[in-house]
Symmetry: C2
Subunit: 351 residues, 2 copies
């Protein structure tokens, strides 16, 4: 995969004065101009209200549904389940340390609403014909600057890392962390002739790389529980990652979103002691009731949220900083970073 | 770093019959022979008893101190702090979601016992002259088998992965996850002559690679809190990782151990809402009191613990399985795995 990145070197424009430049990831995000922030449509949010905690504090979890082209079969189902108020009265049933929190119908007998689809396994990833824009560590010194390849036309997807432990490349697509695998196709030759022309056709070589892309199982990502393959789940049973990224699940389970607020209301729940971290029968009282799940545009006074565009220069500088910490606390910059250690910045929109 | 692994191909002996072979990581660990398990000396354990939870349930956390050659300055301090009962009456002061839980003296004024040392930054990693034994994915197909290089003499350290996001190689050293960076030294020439011989000396070339090794910040690893560099901390302020591995801290902070039992008593604590996830003044009641911290050999009836030897064939098969899930649930083996997604199996010793 190494051939995909850093073919040519064009240092990204960083702030002119090194002394004035924000050096920590947080400072870079704080200094990002308003234009670098992308609004999240409330219709793409789900709001899950859990029963209050023992002290009566409300517990709300907000998650963002993944946009097209990923996992749209399941996302469509989830919109229908929310519209049908299907999750109301269900519960959090599994909390496995360093793995996942899972919720849904503990009886596994609750009837599903009509109209759900059953997506196939092929929808775990997407295939593209075309070329993508690449950022990555410059050839030398390794990881010390972010470079951009200039040979290829830009697309929405940006690859940042060519040294992932699980796959050749990782990067970001419209604000989401993705894995990618690119296959260089054999060149096609297309014969072209002008209508009515008497000249012989001209042969034009066409190079169409094929890139497979899929969302990655990072902390806080939301996925679709399922039984043994070829079952792919409906979206009624959901989980979120609360530990080290279980990337072995990538392309084996549908990812449908990510928690953007209230993660602690899931990650700090007491762990279950049944098989796979499900609450055992004698700890059934730990199952937190789900009061309601609604789409964000049905919730009055929901804050507006926005994410830092992963195509922005601010984001590129943020990635660079996370890979090369040089602020006072650090003595040895890593020179690299894992895709799941680059959480996409998300915030409440300034009033 | 690619040159370090898979120079020659010798497939590890896996069970003869593919049909009988345990295929999941858990099944491989369960089938490991007793000889593959290594006892942990109780004198290398710390036992931290927290105040009981709201329902009166006891909360014990057991952690294992890292062995030589890593971080021994801080480990020595920690033994002295435990012997002095220094942590008794201190508390859990910080719970930052997807990052760390930290404990120690919230006042930062409690006097330290005499005799502590102040290790220097050079102790964040260790330098070796010599060569190490390497396992890794076979050249083709990628990641489908674990291979061993046969050209180099074995040592205690074994490198498994050459595609880490943060450093060239990762692997295991006596049961602990490590990062490594090997520098091939220029060959030395040593002149040798037999005592009393009248023959001219013989020139012998000697190749001594230099490998830097350090423990990695995986889930459950325990590190030493410190202020801004060049402060390196004493070991009185400790933290453990409760989210995605913050590997940028490797070689910037001393790692001194790992939680081996009771992790959920830390990871499920309520998150703090002050700066950096410290409990703010208005949530001081969330600070869980630490009743006592003792060395394991001072605790009556402490269970015996053991870990799966990282030099064993069972462990190699376990790594292979984690990188290539092919059991019924999986349709797409990853073909790779992150060092922090290969927790070293640790269990209570069978009675």
């Amino acid at each position: 995969m190494r051939r995909l990145v850093a073919l040519a070197v064009l240092a990204l424009a960083l702030p002119a004065s090194a002394e004035d430049a924000p050096v920590t990831p947080n400072a870079i995000v704080a200094a990002a101009p308003a234009a670098d922030w992308q609004a999240i449509d409330p219709a793409d949010l789900l709001v899950m209200d859990l029963a209050p905690d023992r002290d009566g504090n409300p517990r709300r979890v907000v998650f963002q549904l993944i946009p097209a082209p990923f996992s749209q079969g399941w996302v469509g189902n989830i919109r229908k389940l929310a519209a049908a108020h299907w999750w109301d009265g269900t519960s959090i049933n599994r909390v496995q340390d360093n793995y996942v929190v899972q919720w849904g119908d503990v009886t596994e007998k609750k009837a599903l609403p009509n109209g759900l689809t059953q997506p196939g396994e092929e929808q775990y990833s997407e295939q593209y014909k075309g070329q993508i824009d690449h950022y990555g560590p410059c050839p030398a010194p390794r990881g010390d600057e972010i470079c951009k390849t200039t040979e290829r036309p830009a697309d929405e997807a940006i690859a940042f890392f060519d040294n992932d432990s699980y796959t050749g490349n990782t990067g970001f697509y419209s604000g989401w962390p993705i894995g990618m695998k690119t296959t260089r196709a054999a060149p096609l030759v297309v014969s072209v002739s002008a209508p009515g022309s008497k000249r012989p056709p001209t042969d034009i070589p066409v190079q169409l790389d094929s890139t497979e892309m899929w969302p990655t199982h990072c902390y806080g990502m939301v996925g679709v529980g399922r039984n043994v393959s070829p079952d792919t789940g409906t979206g009624a049973e959901l989980y979120t990652v609360i530990g080290q990224a279980p990337r072995q699940l990538d392309r084996n389970i549908a990812l449908v979103g990510r928690i953007i607020e209230g993660m602690e209301n899931l990650s700090s729940l007491p762990r279950g002691h049944g098989d796979l971290g499900f609450y055992a029968d004698d700890e059934a009282d730990k199952r937190v009731p789900i009061l309601s799940v609604r789409l964000g545009n049905e919730i009055r006074d929901l804050p507006r949220f926005e994410y830092l565009s992963t195509e922005s220069k601010s984001f590129a500088a943020y990635v660079h900083s996370r890979a090369n910490r040089k602020d006072d606390f650090y003595i040895q910059p890593a020179g690299g970073v894992d895709i799941c250690n680059v959480p996409v910045p998300i915030r409440r929109a300034p009033q």
